[in-house]
Symmetry: C2
Subunit: 320 residues, 2 copies
């Protein structure tokens, strides 16, 4: 668990326990693959946001727990399906389910985990929770499909990029914040700024992820540098470089190539870095972080608010 989440250490421990419990009586194959996924870890960001958001109104962690588990299951399901699509063999330095069990299991396991989340969501009988998560899951797919449709295309705009990362990442984090509060019965005046905070944090988080794909320590990142580029995913630093690099024609040539060699990936990374693409993306991420912190100002000044501020700071300085 991230140190900044110490305020909700017990909640996250309950979450880990619930995640294990939920697959404990499943068939051996489902259990093994799910436990592998759960053990592979992750920051548990979405559950953490839902607990912290719940603290702003009539908090009882038991009211938030099923939602928190559902959010992490949805996130896990998308990761398993993404690994099928991206043919990823490791994630966070750990072999993927796809690498260990293959595409067939991964496809059904993703569906299974998603189905389990629906059971938890149905338990609430809260129409806001059901509607927001249904809408979010559709939009997440739209983002992924747009990513496939625009792979290896050099003529993408910042707007295309924002459309995509909002769907891929920001919406589920916004939903985590909004619905954590909703699960405790919080009014619109609390749910709305939390949702906006989550949106900004999600955008900043994904932009930082895309920067780290170019500049991180490969070991800490748990996957090779330039993975996005290799898959044809055009991220913000690259969009900047495709417009501002003196070598933008060469860069476009590499980006549009179907198969990219290791040398080409390195060359493209150099070109993006040398023209200031990473600094530009860093400034955009910082703007989202600032906006996220602004959204918190209308909320009650409780310890959870300070934690959410710290999360915002962490997003922009994180190295993994």
């Amino acid at each position: 668990m991230l140190e900044i989440f110490r305020e909700i250490r017990q909640e996250i421990e309950c979450l880990e326990e619930e995640l294990r419990k939920i697959v404990s009586d499943a068939d051996p194959l489902i259990k093994d693959t799910s436990i592998h996924l759960i053990n592979a870890g992750g920051k548990r960001l979405r559950p953490a946001f839902s607990f912290l958001a719940g603290k702003f109104y009539n908090y009882d962690y038991k009211k938030v727990l099923p939602l928190a588990v559902a959010l992490e299951l949805i996130h896990m399901a998308t990761l398993v399906h993404d690994d099928v699509v991206d043919s990823s063999m490791t994630r966070r330095n750990i072999p993927t389910v796809k690498a260990m069990w293959g595409n067939k299991i991964s496809t059904h396991l993703g569906d299974y985990l998603f189905g389990k989340s629906l059971k938890l969501i149905a338990w609430y009988g809260n129409s806001e929770i059901a509607r927001v998560l249904a809408d979010t899951s559709v939009k997440m797919c739209e983002g992924e499909i747009q990513q496939l449709a625009t792979a290896n295309k050099a003529d993408q705009t910042v707007r295309d990029y924002f459309y995509r990362i909002k769907r891929k990442t920001a919406l589920l984090i916004a939903a985590s914040c909004q619905l954590g509060a909703a699960a405790c019965g919080a009014p619109e005046s609390i749910r709305r700024p939390l949702k906006r905070y989550g949106h900004c944090i999600g955008m900043a988080f994904q932009i930082t992820d895309d920067i780290l794909d170019l500049v991180a320590d490969q070991k800490k990142l748990g996957k090779p540098i330039g993975s996005d580029l290799r898959q044809g995913i055009v991220t913000l630093p690259l969009i900047y470089a495709l417009k501002h690099s003196p070598e933008r024609e060469r860069l476009a040539e590499i980006v549009t190539g179907e198969e990219k060699s290791g040398e080409e990936i390195s060359e493209a990374c150099e070109l993006i870095l040398s023209c200031g693409g990473v600094e530009y993306a860093g400034r955009v991420a910082q703007k989202y972080v600032d906006n996220a912190r602004d959204e918190l100002k209308s909320l009650p000044d409780i310890p959870a608010r300070r934690t959410l501020e710290t999360v915002a700071e962490f997003i922009s300085v994180r190295k993994f």
Copy 2:
């Protein structure tokens, strides 16, 4: 549309329209792939059952329509994901989404269609509908994963087979019947026999499907004979033959082989047929059909009941 469903011709026309409408404003890639799927057709069995079930209590097709669309979307989503898993290139003589657009699109498109169904389900704010469909979607995955786990295994029991086809097929058909009535506010005394009818029909339907995989006219079936066997799926006629065929050792040898030649598939089909495996499965299917018809007896004697009886008869004689 099947002739037996003429009673709900207009409802099915509305359904087709709604299916198209639901993807009409999507990104071009989502729209094209979805329309391809919708045009590929299908019997629209699940929506048909939901409309017919609705007729037993305070019927208004508008109350059932969102559910009917959601049921067909869930069914379509599972087909798209199954085609990824089975590497199927045609279905009903039409190229699959996987064959035309590949695994990546198929994975996300399945998730997208499933997400769209959730939006419709959330619209009801009916906890029975949400819970039954969440539970069904989890169990459907359990069935698919058990099918993968038991592929090419010759030591399966009739019980394993029933476990699997209940999850793969019968539960969603049972849910269609139960929830079609629930959407109109029908009491338990109507929902329960309809659910049981749907269960029996679903079991009979899948057993008949598995028989047709061995004996159908290949053109009418829209896929090669012996497809299940080729994929290592052990169906009821085969389970019977593995126990009763004088050549059961040879049959087990073929079944357990990882790669099966065309000659081996033909040989296995012959062995299953010659020992009476198909007749046995036919008798089991007929038993489910009889039970399905019995369940209808407690329901009001309206035209929809007669249609459901006819559907039961059709299941056991259908050739495609």
